[in-house]
């Protein structure tokens, strides 16, 4: 195993973890936010020790860090891999930009501010939150595919010489 492959593999695992949690939130959490204000009161009552933010504040920068590491480790050998990993990193950053600009203001309304707005207004905010999450999932999915394709290329490029020789001789 070499650092080029390991850094890409860790970046891939973390991106896929991020994708899995994003899908989990869309499938399990988002539909239950409907039916405000009681649904939001229960969510606030339940998330008293930790909340999803605790998890994403660790996993999201971790993913970006390992994507950057994979990009640095694979900068020079293959231009295609470099740009794919750079694209994945840009998408991971875009995912965070969406989180900060779109989801954070809605998180404040749904989980922090006093529930003084109308039920219809709160439900609309929850619907917007869910729609934004679909975009975030699409962005991360593209990043995962880019890292996966890069990893396949890196795996082929870093195949040990002896293995490649024996493999190509058996193929012929």
């Amino acid at each position: 195993m070499n650092p080029r492959l390991i850094s890409a593999a860790i970046a891939l695992s973390l991106s896929a973890i991020l994708l899995g949690t994003g899908v989990y939130e869309s499938v399990v959490v988002a539909p239950n936010l409907q039916g405000a204000p009681s649904s939001l009161e229960h969510a606030r009552g339940f998330y008293h020790a930790t909340n999803p933010g605790t998890f994403f504040r660790v996993i999201s920068p971790g993913t970006q860090l390992f994507l950057l590491l994979a990009l640095v480790c694979n900068w020079s050998p293959i231009p295609f891999t470099r740009w794919r990993l750079a694209g994945a990193l840009a998408l991971a950053i875009l995912g965070d930009v969406i989180t900060f600009k779109f989801h954070y203001p809605r998180n404040t309304i749904l989980f922090i501010d006093p529930l003084t707005r109308s039920a219809a207004d709160l439900d609309r905010v929850a619907t917007e939150w869910a729609a934004g999450n679909y975009i975030r999932i699409a962005v991360i999915l593209i990043a995962v595919v880019l890292v996966m394709v890069s990893m396949i290329r890196i795996a082929r490029d870093t195949a040990p010489g002896a293995y490649v020789c024996s493999n190509s001789s058996t193929t012929r």
């Binding site: 492959l5 593999a9 891939l12 695992s13 896929a16 973890i17 991020l18 994708l19 899995g20 949690t21 899908v23 989990y24 499938v27 399990v28 539909p31 239950n32 009681s38 649904s39 229960h42 969510a43 009552g45 339940f46 998330y47 008293h48 020790a49 930790t50 909340n51 999803p52 605790t54 998890f55 996993i59 995962v144 996966m148 990893m151 396949i152 795996a155 082929r156 490029d157 195949a159 040990p160 010489g161 002896a162 293995y163 490649v164 020789c165 493999n167 190509s168 193929t171």
Partner: protein, 216 residues
Amino acid sequence: MKTAISQSTQHAASPSASDRKEEYSGNRSGPDLGLERSRRGTLGLVSSFLPLLLLSMLFGASSFQLAVDAPNWTGVPALEHYRAFYPVINPGTFFRTLLPTALFALLAALVCNWRPIPATRWRLAGALALMILVGVLTFTFHFPRNKILFGDPLTRPAAYYNQVVTEWVAGDYLRLVMILTAVVLVAVAMIRIARDTAPRELRDSNSSDALKGLLQ
């Protein structure tokens, strides 16, 4: 002119359909074989790609549950809030879809990569066995505790529920370790398949690079 004559001779001497069939099945040309191998290789690679994605997603969702949900299951009021927050769709809905899909994708990857490399076959079979074990653990260990925490009336003392949550979390750590091992096995298998199905020109350039390295 020479080409025209040879083409007409070829046309005149073209074999019958049965002869062609016999010739095709008996002595297939190199490029055809290469194309079929390439198709099989692509299928093998794509089939290993999907379970890796699904298993990593499963690992992500399970670790999210362990890190975000489980610490909040402290005390009867929190469990009441949890039950009220998940009236129809609950985490079970998600896992009941993703786990069988991941199992099916793993089985497909195992079938598609059964023959070429024994090491890959056993890695994928190991991952499948581990994921079946995850299912067994969920049904026999977590389901009864889920029922106590999220189904039955909350009539027992808080200490009892805390004990059940502690057990649930311990079982979940075991489940996460098994999923992570399966992810690693599938990732290593995918790397091996990717190398084995590399286009010939890449292999040749790699082997010539390796030879250059040995000579230097």
